[in-house]
């Protein structure tokens, strides 16, 4: 009696068992692949970010170095004189989450260039933030922390939004403002550790 009941339960649960087993196999395969490719993907991402870093400056002759080895901030130099800094820019408020990029500023914290490295905004709509797709981001060039309100005009700020991409452009406008206000003002007079960007 007990035995047949146990068998019945087993038969009833057969779909559950097979589903669980297959889910486990799939999960294991993916976990193994993830751990195998993780480092390579991280490297690719870093290389791509550094490649973009070189393009954020308006002057191609400038060198990009790290003044402090452990900092996330890069500095730009022209003939060993510092022309400014390049700060990592990021926000998680994009329409599809995370957006990251580089923000180049001069010694007075004036914007020299912006480049988006990573985003998953809707192609054809939210990708206006890419320099190759639209000049939207150029309205930030030359701005300082106090020269403008870093909000969209429809939020009583100083910057235009893009119809259909309000969330994306709002997120980026705020991120640029925040990065700019938090940017270091005083800078070391001479490079302490010189580490080139393509290391």
């Amino acid at each position: 009696m007990v035995k047949s009941k146990a068998k019945e339960v087993l038969v009833m649960n057969k779909p559950v068992t097979s589903f669980t087993l297959i889910a486990l196999i799939c999960a294991t395969t993916l976990a193994v692949t993830h751990s195998l490719t993780e480092k390579q993907i991280e490297d690719n991402r870093k290389n791509f970010a550094l490649q973009q870093l070189a393009q954020v400056l308006p002057n191609a002759n400038e060198r990009i170095i790290k003044l402090r080895p452990n900092s996330t901030v890069y500095s730009s130099l022209l003939e060993s004189k510092q022309t400014g800094n390049i700060l990592p820019l990021s926000t998680s408020q994009g329409y599809n989450g995370y957006i990251s990029g580089w923000l180049a500023i001069d010694l007075n914290r004036r914007v020299r260039g912006i480049r988006i490295v990573e985003h998953s905004e809707t192609p054809g709509i939210g990708d206006v933030i890419e320099t190759t797709k639209s000049r939207w981001i150029d309205q930030f060039l030359g701005q300082e922390p106090d020269s403008a309100i870093f909000e969209l005009k429809l939020d009583q700020g100083s910057f235009d939004h893009v119809s259909g991409a309000t969330i994306t452009t709002r997120a980026l406008t705020r991120a640029i403002g925040k990065t700019l206000t938090n940017a270091p003002q005083s800078l070391p007079a001479s490079p302490v550790v010189v580490e080139t960007a393509d290391d």
Partner: protein, 222 residues
């Protein structure tokens, strides 16, 4: 005709996933602006279709009615994630271009359709062949549409092939003309050209049909 030939003909021509079933058009139209992106997504779709067909056919006796669809989706989604991870690791630049549409392969009805209609009720050898043929049929349409749109819309062919073939392919780019037609590069152009391809396929089929029936009608008329 053997059933092998039937399956092959079905996938490539008679029941082509893109031209006849009209499935998976979102990625098809979105990535076909360049040959390289079209080829990339086509190959990934082919591989995913092949692996999902194979695996589902392999476990078809364990597919209980209540969990059949979840298991199929699980297998398809895992294959796609696997392909996406490999793409990120070894073809990062290509991933930057088509990454979003790779994830969307999960929702490509071609793949679930083949799993449901054929793989879950046929032996492995048929499922494998069907996966290859359906995948090739999709790839073929992608490549034709991608080439046409690149030639008309950009005036080039084989541009950025280094994203798939490595650095030595950088010189492959052919400059065909200097009058790029913007329409072909934009989504409406994709729809128009895709429509033209379908029309051309239908024309070929109709002509073939007429040739077959012509002798019969000639016999009747006199």
């Amino acid at each position: 005709m053997t059933s092998y030939q039937e399956i092959a003909l079905d996938g490539i021509w008679r029941n082509n996933p893109a031209l006849v079933q009209m499935l998976g058009l979102c990625p098809l139209l979105a990535v076909s602006s360049h040959l390289v992106t079209a080829l990339g997504l086509g190959i990934i779709t082919l591989l995913v279709l092949l692996s999902s067909n194979f695996l589902i056919s392999l476990i078809r006796t364990h597919l209980h009615e209540q969990v059949r669809l979840p298991i199929q989706i699980l297998i398809i989604a895992s294959s796609v994630t696997l392909a996406d991870l490999c793409l990120q690791a070894y073809f990062y630049e290509l991933h930057q271009r088509i990454g979003l549409f790779v994830a969307l392969i999960v929702t490509n009805c071609t793949i679930l359709g083949r799993a449901e209609l054929l793989a879950s009720r046929s032996p492995v050898k048929y499922a494998l062949l069907d996966g290859i043929m359906m995948g090739l049929g999709f790839l073929l349409v992608l490549v034709v549409l991608g080439s046409l749109r690149e030639i008309i819309g950009q005036g080039t062919l084989f541009a950025h092939m280094d994203m798939i073939l490595g650095d030595q392919a950088k010189t492959l780019t052919l400059h065909i003309h200097d009058f790029p037609v913007l329409l072909a590069a934009l989504p409406p152009g994709a729809f128009l050209l895709f429509g033209c391809i379908i029309a051309f396929k239908n024309y070929l089929e109709l002509r073939h049909e007429r040739r077959k029936t012509l002798p019969v009608s000639q016999q009747i008329t006199p």
